[in-house]
Amino acid sequence: MNAFAAIDRRALALHLAVIAVLFVLQFVLPAYHHGIMARILVLAVFAMGYNLLFGYTGLLSLGHAMFFSAGLYGAGLSVYHLDWSVPAAFGAGLAGGLVLSAAVGFLALRTTGVAFLIVTMMFGQVAYLFTLYFTDWTRGEEGLTLPQAARVLGPLDLTDPTTRYFAALVLFTIALFVTLALVRAPFGRVLVAIRENEERTRMLGYDTFRNKLGATIASGVICAASGAAYVLLFGYFGSSFAAVQYSILPLLWVLVGGAATTLGPLLGTILMFYLVDLSNDLLNSRFPDWDVSYLGIVGVALVLLILFFPKGLLGSVRDRWVRWLP
């Protein structure tokens, strides 16, 4: 029992330390990285939502862009067409994610494995086509911008870099501790049990469908929170965020950082962003005449990563060195 308590204290201390580091980074990061870090924190929440379903529950979805977009469009359209305030629009985004994930979960969870992947991808594609079909409202692939004047929270101007960073950090902190609490709670244990052996979990008396539905809804709402925050903080929403690549990206971020680790999504999101950014810098500065895309470097890096960290960075770290990592 004491050992469990110690693990929890260590985990809590680690997570608090991560938040503290992110807080301090606000004051030391150069302007560009400061702005980028705010984006990363918001997108890491998307990855954390995805991780809850994929990493902990073992359900591989390729339609999570629809949950991100539910938040993005729920909040964006509320501000753009209805002049809703930021909190109300954020609430609309969350509600969009809640309703959509409940509906999709209820239908898609009748399938498992590859079928679940395909069904979620199809629902994701439907959501993407919805954003195009209602172009009169959404401007489809071109998208819409929110005026700076509408992106205020009381006295706080969300377009101010400092405010934006703190807003992103608050959202990230809430999502991180909610995720941590969920996966440490009995509910989270059941999810892991389902991942490891669904039949056995059912045999033990658990209603696996209800638990999986709960995980889908929690995952969808967290992803929607990320989408809603993204549009309110950065001012743009368009169909590209609903396209299949935004279903693949959180999978990639989670795989790189470490599936079923609470901090893996953040690490994966940071790593993938800087892999792209620094590859571009490297090609621009060292090999300007090479007709090579950054994608080549990113591809090689990912292959190496999978060779040496097959469970993602933090997943492999946990396996080899830090067993208590949540």
Binding site: A31, Y32, G35, L129, G140, E142, G143, F234, G238, N284
Partner: protein, 434 residues
């Protein structure tokens, strides 16, 4: 008495002559420090840095490749002629991946890391619209070559300009009357069923119908569609002209299937060359296009009456008489759009010189100086033709070219006037705060 004089000269009464001298010495030392020297020189000889947001990867890569070549050529020409305000021009390129999220990040990178003076680019509307909030928040002048109506609509912000290329609304308005008078009066529009296609659907009919034409059919093609034959029966049988604006990889299939559907007896065709930019007009399957008409922003093939300015521009950007790369005849250019990069760089130069631009602190002055521009005369700097700039909507108006496919080439058969495409401004950016 002395004390009183000192207090007049030096606001702090406790300041002695010794501390004042120390302060002056420190100031002199600061001026001699490397950083300050660098800053002083920046006013006169350091390059003007222009961040170029390029579609190097993603769906816009074919456009991006040519936008980059034209931009490099224009920067070279400007530098050869003495630069901007006597300072050389340096192009800093970043790949936007033809993605709006990355586009916005690239604008931030230009502003905060590369410390460019302005940002310039790019074609695809969603990247421009996605990047615009970042440009507005960072107060970074953002000159785009996108031809979308997004700038002129007033939906972006005061820092976004499109002075070097006309917008889709002006383009479709300009060609409408000519189609009605020369090709046919009953037209069916075939367009992709999303924002780009809707712009054509919504903005084309007004002037076409005013010239006696009638839109007899609308055939929206759903996005992600790869086969088109089943949509062709929706085209009314009395259609005299099919107006098509398909884009993306499906366009070759679209034209081929249209040809198979109609054989040699179908309606006449009018299309936007956007469909076939960077595609050889003589590609297999495109034979059906022979005799059809296309809008071109600037002629792909060298025309017999081309001006010296056009010839010089084509030589500088490296395209042959067929509009392909001089190094590779199969590398067809995006000539209907890429001239906008050349012209926009010259407009940035003109605005910077008018503003007496010294550095980022003058960005607001640069915005106002750009808004003070009204006309860009035809010549080496504007080879596509004269442009009239509307400061209220940050958008230029210019002439359009209508070409016919014959003998395996696109030959210009009509050049619209600027007035053909003009419309009343529907927004006023100049009233927005800087």
């Amino acid at each position: 008495m002395t004390g009183k004089r000192t207090s007049l000269l030096l606001p702090n009464k406790n300041l002695t002559r010794r501390t004042a001298l120390k302060g002056m010495g420190a100031a002199a030392g600061l001026m001699a420090a490397p950083g300050f020297v660098r800053y002083s020189q920046a006013q006169s000889s350091e390059p003007i840095r222009i961040g170029f947001q390029a579609h190097r990867t993603g769906i816009g890569a074919a456009y991006g490749r040519w936008y980059e070549r034209v931009t490099t050529a224009a920067a070279q020409a400007i530098n050869d002629a003495g630069g901007i305000n006597g300072r050389p021009l340096e192009i800093v390129t970043e790949d936007d991946g033809t993605d709006p999220k990355r586009g916005a990040e690239v604008v931030e990178k230009f502003a905060n890391q590369h410390k460019t003076d302005v940002v310039f680019g790019t074609l695809f509307s969603h990247v421009v619209v996605g990047s615009a909030p970042a440009a507005g928040e960072l107060k970074m002048p953002y000159y785009v070559v996108s031809e979308g109506y997004h700038v002129a609509s007033g939906s972006l912000n005061r820092y976004v300009f499109q002075p070097g290329i006309t917008d889709v609304k002006a383009q479709v308005r300009a060609v409408g009357p000519w189609i009605a008078e020369n090709v046919g009066k009953k037209i069916t529009l075939v367009y992709p069923d999303y924002a780009f296609g809707h712009d054509h659907r919504d903005k084309f009919p007004e002037r076409f119908e005013a010239a006696g034409g009638t839109v007899v059919g609308l055939v929206p093609i759903p996005p992600t569609e790869t086969s088109f034959t089943r949509y062709f029966p929706q085209i009314p049988s009395d259609t005299e002209v099919i107006y098509h604006v398909m884009v993306g990889p499906g366009v070759l299939t679209f034209v081929k299937e249209l040809g198979e559907f109609y054989g040699s007896s179908g309606p006449k065709l009018f299309g936007f060359i956007d469909s076939l930019e960077a595609v050889d007009i003589n590609s297999p399957g495109l034979e059906f296009l022979d005799g059809s008409y296309f809008w071109e922003g600037m002629p792909r093939y060298l025309q017999p009456d081309a001006s010296d300015a056009v010839k010089a521009y084509r030589a500088a950007v490296g395209i042959d008489d067929n509009g392909a790369s001089v190094n590779d005849p199969k590398d067809v250019s995006t000539s209907a759009h890429m001239f906008g990069c050349w012209e926009t760089l010259y407009i940035i130069k003109e605005a910077m010189e008018a503003a007496g631009y010294q550095g980022p602190a003058d960005r607001a002055k640069l915005v106002e100086a750009t808004e003070a521009l009204t006309e860009f005369p035809e010549g080496p700097e504007h080879p596509q033709g004269l442009k009239v700039f509307s400061p209220m909507i940050h958008q230029s108006f210019g002439q359009q070219y209508i070409s016919q496919v014959s003998g395996g080439k696109l030959n210009v058969v009509h050049t619209t006037s600027i007035e053909d495409g003009m419309y009343e401004p529907e927004a006023d950016y100049t009233s927005m705060p800087l």
